[in-house]
C-alpha cells in the first residue's frame, strides 16, 4: 500500500506537470487537442489523488502502523469515526486533502465549462494544474504520507483528544473546500487577464464556485468556533489567533467580491476592483495555508516543526507578482464604462460595503502580521491582543450592518428623496421599536450592543418589507395563496432572495456575537461537594464528584474521566443536573510508570452545556488529582518490583484494579475542584445564524432548472421591459 500510495502521488504530479504544459502549448499553438489533453490531465490528477486519499484512509481504518503518519496520529483505541478523519490532523494528510479537493473541484468546473469559455479554459487549466504541481510536489518530495515507519510500533500515539469532536473533524475539509474552490475564480481571473477577455462571462461561469467557496469557508470557520466553545475549557469561540484570522481574511474579500460583482454585471463598473478582489482572495487563501504551516507567527497551534514555509512563500510571492503584472498591463481594458452617478445609489452603498469589508480584512491582516511588522520596525517582536482588534473591528462591523440594511432597498443609479422615504421609513421604525423595547426592558449595559440590536432591527425590517412587497405583487398577479406566493417569489429570483436569507443569517449571528460578548458572565471558583456559587441570576451547586474508566471497543483502556455533577438553576426556579469532566488519556511515553502514564498523557475537558436561544449555561471542571499522586507513584513502584513475576494478563488485571481503586478514592474522599462557570447570552444565535446563511447560500447558488439558459416567453420579455423602465425596482 505504501508503494501504491506513493505511485499515485507521482502519477498526480506527472499528470499536473504534463497537463499544465499541454494546456499552455495548446493555447499558444492553437492546438485544441492539446487543450483537451490538458483537461484530461486534470481528471487524471483528480483520480490519482483520490486513490491516494482512499489508500491512506484504509491504512487509518486498519490501524496500519507501518505508515508513519498513522502511527503518529491514530491508535487502535481511537474510535472508527476519528480514525477516518485523523488523516487531516497531520501535515501530510492535510496536504493530501488539499490536493484531493483541488483535483475534484477543478475537474467539476472544467467539465461544466468544457463547451464554454474556450479561450480561457487552457490558461485556467494551467493555473489549476500549477496548484496541483505545487501540492503534489510537496507530497512527493517533502511530506509524503506514504513513509514507512523506521521502528515498528504495536500501538500508535492516537489522535489528539482535543480533536475528537465531530465538528472539528468536518471543520478542516470545509476550510480546505473553501480554499480550493477559491482557486477556481483565481484561475479564471488570471486566464481572463492573460487573454484580455475581460467581460463578465468568466465571472458568471465561476460565480457558483465562488459562492460555494464562500459558504464552505464560512461554515468551516463557524465549525471551528463551535469546536472551541464546546471543547476547550475557556468558554469562548474566537480569540483572534493568527490561524483563525487566516481563514477569515479570504472570506471577507470573497464577501466583498460577491457583492461588487453585481455592479460589474449590471453597470460594467468596478472591473479593476473585482479582478483585484478575486486575485487577492486567491492569494489570501494560500496565505492561510502557509500561516498554519510556517511557524512564522505565535499561535495556539504549534507548527514550528514544519519546513514548508519557504516553498509557500515562493508560491505566494509568485502569485502576487503575477497578479500585479497582469492587472497593471491590462488596466486600460479594465477601465469601467460607467461612472458612479450618485452617492445615494445602490452602487455607492455596495462600494461602501466593499470598502468596509476590505478595511476589516486590512485590520485583521495588520493585527495578524503585527509581530513581524513590529520586529521589522523596532527589532523586537510585539503582539497585540483582542482589545486592539475589537477597537477597530466593532465600529467597522456596525457600519457594515448599516450598509447591509440600506443596500438592498435603495435604488440603482440615483435614489430620489421619495425612494428613500418609501424604502427606509419602515425599516428605520423597526430599528427604533427594537431600541425602545430594549431600553424599556432595561437592556442598557452596553451601548455597542444596543446600536447593533437597533441596526439588526433596521436590516430585518428592510428584508421583511422587501419580501412582503414581492409576495403581495406575486399574489396580485397569480392569485396564489400566501405561502405558495412566497415560494414562487423565491424560486423566480433565487439569487436575490437567497441573498436576503444570507443577510438574515448574518444579522442573527451579529446579534449573537454582540449579546454574548457584551453580557457574558464568568466566575472561576473552587468548590467542595455541596458548596454553591452564583453567576448572574443562576446558582451552581457542586452536587458530587464522578469518576469513570472508559474502555475502547477493543477492550483496551481509552480514558479515565474525573468529573462533577452540578445542579444549576435560578433561585426558586427549576433546576437542571449537568455533568462536566476532565478526561485523562494514557500516554505512550515509555519513561512513565505503568500507572502514572494514565494520568500524564493528554487531557481534555468535557464541557457541561445547557444551551437555549436565550442563554447558555456553561461549566468546566478542573479536578484536583494531587491527592492521588502518592498512590499513583506507589502503584508505579509496586508494578516495577513485580514486573518480572507477573504475566501480561495478570499485570493487566492488577492495573485495572489499581485504576479502579484510584477512581473510588477520588469519589469517596473528593478534594475541592476548580470550576469555570459561565452564563453566555444568545451564543446559540451564532449557530442558528450560520445555518440560515448556509440555507440562503444554497438558495442563491442553486443552479436554475434547465441550466443557465432561460426560455424567453412573451410574459418574461414584458417583465424585463417593465424592469428596464423602473430601474429602482429591478432585483439585485
Amino acid at each position: 500500500m505504501l508503494v501504491a500510495g506513493q505511485a499515485c502521488l507521482i502519477v498526480a504530479l506527472c499528470s499536473a506537470v504534463y497537463g499544465a504544459g499541454a494546456s499552455l502549448y495548446g493555447a499558444r499553438a492553437r492546438r485544441p487537442e492539446f487543450v483537451a489533453s490538458g483537461r484530461r490531465a486534470v481528471y487524471a490528477m483528480a483520480g490519482a489523488s483520490t486513490l491516494a486519499f482512499v489508500l491512506l484512509e484504509i491504512a487509518f481504518v486498519n490501524s496500519d502502523f507501518e505508515f508513519a503518519v498513522v502511527a503518529s496520529h491514530s491508535s487502535t483505541t481511537t474510535p472508527l469515526f476519528y480514525r477516518l478523519t485523523a488523516m487531516w490532523s497531520s501535515q501530510e494528510g492535510s496536504l493530501l486533502l488539499w490536493l484531493f479537493l483541488l483535483g475534484v473541484w477543478s475537474s467539476v468546473i472544467l467539465y461544466v465549462t468544457r463547451h464554454r469559455l474556450r479561450a480561457l479554459a487552457p490558461y485556467a487549466q494551467a493555473v489549476l494544474l500549477g496548484y496541483g504541481v505545487f501540492f503534489a510536489g510537496l507530497l512527493v518530495f517533502l511530506e509524503s504520507p506514504f513513509r514507512r515507519i523506521a521502528n515498528p510500533v504495536a500501538e500508535g500515539t492516537g489522535l489528539n483528544p482535543l480533536l475528537r469532536d465531530p465538528g472539528m473533524m468536518i471543520h478542516p475539509p470545509m476550510l480546505y473546500s473553501g480554499y480550493t474552490l477559491l482557486a477556481i475564480p483565481f484561475a479564471f481571473a488570471v486566464a481572463a487577464l492573460i487573454t484580455r477577455r475581460l467581460d463578465a462571462e468568466w465571472i458568471r461561469s465561476t460565480r457558483p464556485f465562488t459562492l460555494f467557496a464562500w459558504l464552505a469557508l464560512g461554515f468551516g470557520i463557524v465549525l471551528g468556533a463551535r469546536w472551541s466553545y464546546h471543547e476547550l475549557d475557556w468558554g469562548g469561540y474566537w480569540m483572534w489567533d493568527p490561524v483563525e484570522n487566516a481563514s477569515l481574511m479570504p472570506w471577507l474579500t470573497a464577501t466583498a467580491f460577491l457583492h461588487s460583482v453585481m455592479i460589474q454585471e449590471r453597470r460594467g463598473m468596478l472591473r479593476i476592483w473585482n479582478v483585484s478582489l478575486v486575485l487577492a482572495t486567491g492569494v489570501l487563501a494560500i496565505l492561510g495555508t502557509f500561516l498554519v504551516r510556517s511557524g512564522v507567527l505565535q499561535s495556539i497551534h504549534a507548527f514550528g516543526a514544519s519546513t514548508l514555509g519557504v516553498p509557500f512563500l515562493l508560491l505566494i510571492g509568485g502569485m502576487i507578482a503575477a497578479s500585479i503584472y497582469l492587472v497593471a498591463t491590462r488596466a486600460d481594458q479594465l477601465r469601467s464604462r460607467n461612472r458612479l452617478d450618485s452617492l445615494l445609489s445602490r452602487e455607492a452603498i455596495f462600494l461602501l460595503n466593499n470598502l468596509l469589508l476590505v478595511a476589516l480584512c486590512f485590520v485583521i491582516f495588520w493585527g495578524t502580521f503585527f509581530p513581524l511588522i513590529a520586529e521589522a520596525v523596532t527589532g523586537r517582536q510585539r503582539n497585540i491582543g483582542p482589545p486592539v482588534y475589537e477597537q477597530f473591528v466593532v465600529p467597522l462591523a456596525l457600519l457594515l450592518v448599516l450598509a447591509t440594511g440600506i443596500g438592498p432597498v435603495i435604488a440603482w443609479r440615483r435614489a430620489t428623496a421619495a425612494n428613500l422615504r418609501r424604502n427606509l421609513t419602515k425599516p428605520a421604525i423597526a430599528g427604533l421599536v427594537v431600541l425602545a423595547a430594549l431600553i424599556a426592558l432595561g437592556v442598557t449595559g452596553s451601548v455597542t450592543a444596543l446600536i447593533m440590536f437597533t441596526l439588526a432591527g433596521f436590516v430585518l425590517g428592510g428584508i421583511v418589507q422587501e419580501l412582503w412587497r414581492g409576495v403581495r405583487a406575486r399574489r396580485a398577479a397569480s392569485r396564489e395563496p400566501l405561502p405558495l406566493a412566497f415560494v414562487s417569489l423565491v424560486r423566480r429570483n433565487r439569487r436575490r432572495y437567497g441573498g436576503y436569507f444570507v443577510h438574515v443569517g448574518i444579522i442573527v449571528m451579529f446579534v449573537g456575537v454582540a449579546a454574548s460578548s457584551s453580557f457574558k458572565e464568568v466566575h472561576d471558583v473552587s468548590l467542595n461537594p455541596g458548596e454553591k456559587a452564583r453567576v448572574g441570576d443562576y446558582e451552581f451547586t457542586y452536587v458530587e464528584p464522578t469518576a469513570e474508566i472508559h474502555a475502547a471497543p477493543n477492550g483496551r483502556l481509552e480514558r479515565i474521566a474525573f468529573g462533577a455533577h452540578l445542579r444549576v438553576g435560578k433561585a426558586g426556579g427549576d433546576t437542571k443536573l449537568l455533568h462536566t469532566s476532565k478526561d485523562y488519556f494514557p500516554s505512550q511515553d515509555p519513561s512513565l510508570g505503568p500507572v502514572s502514564r494514565f494520568f500524564d498523557g493528554e487531557t481534555t475537558t468535557e464541557v457541561a452545556l445547557d444551551a437555549s436561544l436565550y442563554n447558555d449555561i456553561w461549566a468546566a471542571v478542573a479536578p484536583d488529582i494531587v491527592r492521588l499522586r502518592d498512590r499513583i507513584e506507589e502503584g508505579d513502584r509496586l508494578f516495577e518490583r513485580a514486573a518480572d513475576d507477573l504475566t501480561g494478563e495478570q499485570a493487566g488485571q492488577f492495573l485495572a484494579l489499581a485504576l479502579r481503586g484510584l477512581t473510588e478514592r477520588y469519589t469517596e474522599n473528593p478534594p475541592a475542584a476548580r470550576f469555570r462557570l459561565e452564563v453566555n447570552p444568545m451564543v446559540s444565535w451564532l449557530w442558528v445564524g450560520a445555518l440560515i446563511i448556509v440555507f440562503g447560500g444554497l438558495v442563491a447558488g442553486w443552479p436554475p432548472r434547465g441550466g443557465t439558459s432561460r426560455t424567453v416567453t412573451a410574459k418574461y420579455a414584458a417583465r424585463v421591459g417593465r424592469e428596464v423602465r423602473e430601474p429602482e425596482r429591478v432585483p439585485a
Binding site: 503518529s72 501535515q91 475549557d233 504551516r293 505565535q298 499561535s299 504549534a302 509581530p371
Partner: protein, 134 residues
C-alpha cells in the same frame, strides 16, 4: 458641480479616511502591544517594574499546583535558561512539561506573575510528527 471635480473630492475623502484608519491602527497597535521575550532574554535583562512582557518558551518538568495557583519554570525553546512563573487560574488542557506556552507576565520580586487568562499552551496536535520515528 463638474463630475470630474466631484470624483476628485470623493477620492480625496476616501483616501483621507483610509490614511486616518491606517494611522490610528498603527498608533494603537504600537502603544497597546506587548513585547515578546524568551526566558534567556528576560533573565539577562532587568525588566522595568510593572512592565508587561509576552513570555514564550517551554514548560520545565516538575511544576507544582496548589489550589488554583501553579508554580512552574519556562525555558527557551532551544535552551536551558529558565525563569520562574506563577499563574493563578485554570490551566489549559494541553499544559504539561515540555509543551510550548505563551503567557503575559509582569515581574513581581524574583518571580514572574502570569496575567489571568493569558496562558496559552500551543496545540501539539498538528504537523509536529516526530521525524525521528521515520
Amino acid at each position: 458641480m463638474d463630475p470630474s471635480r466631484k470624483r476628485s473630492i470623493r477620492f480625496v475623502v476616501a483616501l483621507s479616511a483610509a490614511l486616518l484608519l491606517a494611522t490610528a491602527l498603527a498608533y494603537t497597535s504600537f502603544s497597546a502591544s506587548t513585547e515578546a521575550r524568551q526566558p534567556s532574554e528576560l533573565a539577562s535583562a532587568t525588566p522595568a517594574p510593572g512592565e508587561k512582557y509576552q513570555l514564550v518558551g517551554k514548560v520545565v518538568a516538575g511544576y507544582k499546583t496548589s489550589g488554583n495557583v501553579t508554580h512552574f519554570r519556562v525555558r527557551d525553546r532551544d535552551g536551558t535558561v529558565s525563569v520562574p512563573v506563577t499563574y493563578k487560574g485554570n490551566l489549559p488542557d494541553p499544559f504539561r512539561a515540555d509543551r510550548e506556552i505563551v503567557i503575559d507576565v509582569v515581574k513581581k520580586g524574583a518571580v514572574y506573575e502570569g496575567q489571568p487568562g493569558t496562558l496559552v499552551t500551543k496545540c501539539p496536535s498538528k504537523f509536529t510528527a516526530d521525524k525521528s520515528q521515520t
